[in-house]
Amino acid sequence: MESRQHRLLYLVVIVAGFVFGVGLEPVLDPLERQNLAWIGLVAAMLVGGVAACYWYKRKARSIGGPDERLQRIELRASRRSQRTLVAGVAVLALIAVLPWAELPVAVLLGALLVAGIAVHELSIEYDRRRM
């Protein structure tokens, strides 16, 4: 149960970060990016995010983490999603260097991110049923 909450939190943080990043991009022009207020805001969000993660980790530890079988399942899932992401980024980079290829890199990176999460979740479900 705790493991499921962990994964949900990670998913929410990743999606929120992605949406925030994509949403912020058209709003800011290059001059505004140099604005100290924006830098302060981003720094505050970074510190807030780290503090929230630290607090959540401490809380999860006090409740009791997943046992060794779940840890092994999650390790396998992490390896599979990592391989997927590395392979995807490698293929994307290979295609991107071709002079005639014009790719929507941001969209493809987003899709890769979602694919990585999907592989992770499916892998956990597969191993949980099999093991």
């Binding site: 997943p66 046992d67 060794e68 079988r69 779940l70 099999r130 093991m131």
Partner: protein, 67 residues
Amino acid sequence: MDNSLKVWRAKADVTQAELADAVDVSRQTINATERGRYDPSLELAFELARYFECAIEDIFEYEPSEE
């Protein structure tokens, strides 16, 4: 790796949940181990042996796969 965990548990007359609590893992882990779907860590194997007051080899049997 074969094991006779289910037999030992039946002898001791404890449920999967009680055994899981005693060795600090989930009931699903005990169930998966009994069914041979999960090979426990050395630490868990020692914990189980200590719980049943026997040697690890009494519960677990290692059979190298033939290639």
